[in-house]
C-alpha cells in the first residue's frame, strides 16, 4: 500500500486514527481499567458523570462504572467483529475464487448457494442463526460470519473473473503451474484490493450487527459487557439516567464511523475505479 497516498487522504487517515484510538484503549484495558467493570457498588447507583467520583461516564443501575464497561466491551465487540469478518472472508473468498476460476457447474452451484444466503436480510439471518445456536458469545461469530460469506464470495468471484484471462495467468498455465498454485500465488494477491475495502466495511457492519444482537438479548450475555447489552440495560433507565444509553451508543457510532471512513478512503487510494460502487 502506498503510504504517501494514505497520508494525503484525510478521510482514510481520520478513520485510521479513530480505529487506532480504540485499539489503544483496548490495549490499555488489558492492563488497567478505571474500575472493575463487573463489580457492583450499591452506594453509587445511577450516578451522573463526574470528575469527583472518578466515574467519568457515570454509573449504571448496579453502580458499575460505565467507562470501564465501555472499554471492556470494546474488546468484546471488536474481537467478535474481527473473528466474524475473518470467518466470512475466508469461506466466502474460497468459494468465490473457486467458482470464478473453475467456472461451469462449480460456479453455478456455489453462486446459487450465495444467492440463497443473499435472500435473507442480514440482520434476520443473524437473528435466525442465533435463535438456533443459542445465545453464546462464540455463536455470534458464526451468525455474523454466515451473513458475510455471500458478500465475500461475490466480490472475490467478480475480481477473479476480470483477471482470469489476463496474460500472466495464461502464461503461468502454459508453464504447467497447477490450478492451486495459480489460484493462491497469482490470482489471490491480485484481488486483495477489493477485499481489503470489503473487510473494512464489513467490520463496521459487524459492529452494528453484534450490538443489535446483544441489544435484543441474543448476543453477549450479561454480566459481560458488550455495547449492545449495555444499551439494552440503559434503555430501561434512560429517562432518569441518559448517560447509561448515550455513551455506549456513542462508542458504537465512532468505531463504526472509523471503519467506514477507513474503508471509503482506502477505496479511493487503492482503486479509483470503484469510487461509485457504494
Amino acid at each position: 500500500m502506498e503510504t504517501r497516498a494514505l497520508r494525503k487522504n484525510s478521510i482514510a487517515l481520520t478513520g485510521l486514527a479513530i480505529v487506532g484510538f480504540y485499539v489503544a484503549a483496548i490495549l490499555l484495558s488489558l492492563v488497567w481499567l478505571p474500575f472493575d467493570p463487573v463489580a457492583m457498588d450499591t452506594e453509587h447507583l445511577l450516578e451522573g458523570p463526574s470528575l469527583a467520583t472518578g466515574h467519568l461516564f457515570g454509573t449504571d443501575e448496579f453502580g458499575r462504572d460505565i467507562l470501564s464497561r465501555i472499554m471492556k466491551g470494546a474488546s468484546v465487540s471488536l474481537v467478535i467483529s474481527i473473528c466474524a469478518t475473518a470467518l466470512g472472508a475466508v469461506v466466502g473468498v474460497l468459494m468465490g475464487i473457486w467458482a470464478g476460476y473453475l467456472g461451469g457447474r462449480w460456479d453455478q452451484f456455489l453462486m446459487r448457494i450465495a444467492d440463497i444466503l443473499f435472500s435473507f436480510p442480514s440482520l434476520l439471518l443473524a437473528i435466525f442463526v442465533m435463535a438456533i445456536l443459542g445465545e453464546k458469545t462464540y455463536n455470534v461469530v458464526f451468525a455474523i460470519g454466515i451473513v458475510y460469506i455471500p458478500q465475500f464470495a461475490r466480490v472475490s468471484r467478480g475480481a477473479i473473473l476480470t483477471i482470469k484471462s489476463s496474460e500472466f495467468v495464461r502464461a503461468a498455465r502454459s508453464n504447467g503451474a497447477s490450478p492451486r498454485f495459480i489460484l493462491f500465488r497469482h490470482l489471490l494477491p491480485n484481488i486483495l484490493v477489493p477485499l481489503i475495502v470489503q473487510v473494512s466495511l464489513s467490520l463496521s457492519v459487524a459492529i452494528l450487527l453484534e450490538s443489535s444482537l446483544s441489544f435484543l438479548g441474543l448476543g453477549v450475555q450479561p454480566p459481560y459487557p458488550s455495547w449492545g447489552n449495555m444499551l439494552s440495560a440503559g434503555r430501561k433507565v434512560m429517562v432518569i439516567a441518559p448517560w447509561t444509553a448515550v455513551y455506549p451508543g456513542l462508542a458504537i457510532v465512532f468505531l463504526v464511523l472509523g471503519f467506514n471512513l477507513l474503508g471509503d478512503g482506502l477505496r479511493d487510494i487503492l482503486d479509483p475505479r470503484l469510487k461509485n460502487a457504494r
Binding site: I116, S119, P121, L123, L124, F128, M130, A131, I132, N276
Partner: protein, 320 residues
C-alpha cells in the same frame, strides 16, 4: 418484456426452494426435538397418546420425508402450529404483516425524501471542504445504530407525548392520522441509514452526469439552472439511485424487527422476538420464510423496474 419477467420469475423457484431447505434443516439442528419442547409445557401422556404425538411430530419418519411433507403443507398455505399457543402460524403472521410493511414503505419514502435532495444539493456545492463534510455526514448516517437512534428519539420526545402518541397502537385503517404520527419516528430511525446511502449515490451519480456534454449544451442554450438540474441531469442520474433504494428495501424490513421492539409496536418483528425468546420454532420458521420471500420479491421488482426504464438491461440479459 413479458418473456423477461417470466424468466426472472422462474429463476426465483430454485432460490426459494433453497431458502426453504435452509429454514427447515437449520431448525432440525436444534438439540432436543420439537416433541420434547412441546411436552415440556404439557401434562403427562399415556403410552398411546405418546405414540400418537410421536406420529404427529413426525418422529417415526426420516427427515427428508418430513421435509417433503412440510413443503407440501407450506404450498397449501399451512405453516404449522405454534408450540406455545397451538394456533396456526400463518394467520398470526399475516395479521402483523401490514404494520411491518407500512413501516418499511414509510422508511423508504423518508429515505428518498431526505436522501435525494441532500444528494443533489451536495453535488452542486463542489469544493474540497464540502466534499469532505458531505462524505463524513453520509458515512455518519451509515454508522448510527438504528435501535440507539430509536431509543434517543423516544427519550427526546418523551416530553412531547401529546404531539407524538406512544402506546396503544392504532391501525391506519382506523385512525390514519394517529397511525402516521406514531410511525413517523420509528420509520425515520429505520430509514436514516438508507437516506445516507441514497444521498451518497445521488451525489456521485449527479457529479458524473453533470459533466456530460448534453448538460453543457443545455446550459449553453440558456436554460435555467433549475431546469437543467432537475429535468436534464436528475432524470438520468436517478436510475442507479432507484436500484440502490430497491435493493435496500429488504434490509429496511430487517431493521423493522429491532425498531418495533423499541417503540413497542405490534408488528412481525415483535412476534419474531417473542417466538425466539420462547423457542417457538414453527413461528420463527414461518416469519423467516415470509420475510425472505418478500425480500426476494422486492429485489425482483427492483430488477424489473430497472429493466423497464433501461432497455439495455434486457438486451444484455443473455450474458447473465
Amino acid at each position: 418484456m413479458g418473456r423477461y419477467i417470466a424468466k426472472r420469475l422462474l429463476s426465483l423457484i430454485p432460490v426459494l426452494f433453497g431458502v426453504s431447505v435452509i429454514v427447515f434443516f437449520l431448525v432440525r439442528l436444534i438439540p432436543g426435538s420439537a416433541l420434547q419442547m412441546y411436552m415440556g409445557t404439557q401434562v403427562e401422556a399415556t403410552p398411546e397418546q405418546m405414540e400418537e404425538l410421536r406420529r404427529i411430530f413426525g418422529e417415526d419418519r426420516p427427515v427428508p420425508v418430513l421435509y417433503v411433507e412440510w413443503l407440501g403443507r407450506l404450498l397449501q398455505g399451512n405453516f404449522g402450529y405454534s408450540l406455545r399457543t397451538g394456533r396456526p402460524v400463518l394467520p398470526d403472521i399475516v395479521s402483523r404483516l401490514p404494520l411491518s410493511l407500512e413501516l418499511t414503505v414509510l422508511a423508504l419514502f423518508l429515505a428518498l425524501l431526505i436522501g435525494i435532495p441532500q444528494g443533489i444539493l451536495s453535488s452542486l456545492r463542489k469544493n474540497p471542504f464540502w466534499d469532505v463534510v458531505n462524505r463524513i455526514v453520509g458515512l455518519l448516517g451509515l454508522s448510527l445504530p438504528q435501535f440507539w437512534l430509536a431509543a434517543l428519539m423516544v427519550l427526546a420526545f418523551s416530553g412531547f407525548r401529546g404531539w407524538i402518541p406512544m402506546g396503544n397502537y392504532a391501525k391506519f385503517t382506523e385512525e390514519p392520522l394517529r397511525n402516521l404520527k406514531m410511525l413517523l419516528l420509528p420509520s425515520l430511525a429505520i430509514g436514516i441509514g438508507l437516506a445516507a446511502v441514497i444521498m451518497r449515490y445521488t451525489r456521485n451519480s449527479m457529479l458524473e452526469v453533470l459533466q456530460a456534454d448534453y448538460i453543457r449544451t443545455a446550459k449553453a442554450k440558456g436554460l435555467k439552472k433549475r431546469v437543467v438540474i432537475l429535468r436534464h441531469a436528475l432524470k438520468n442520474a436517478i436510475l442507479p439511485v432507484i436500484t440502490v433504494a430497491g435493493f435496500n428495501t429488504g434490509y429496511l424490513l430487517g431493521g423493522a424487527i429491532v425498531i418495533e421492539e423499541v417503540f413497542a409496536l405490534p408488528g412481525m418483528g415483535r412476534l419474531a422476538l417473542y417466538a425466539i425468546y420462547q423457542r417457538d420454532y414453527p413461528v420463527i420458521q414461518g416469519i423467516v420464510l415470509v420475510i425472505a420471500t418478500l425480500f426476494v420479491l422486492v429485489n425482483l421488482v427492483t430488477d424489473l423496474i430497472y429493466a423497464l426504464v433501461d432497455p439495455r438491461i434486457r438486451l444484455d440479459d443473455s450474458s447473465r
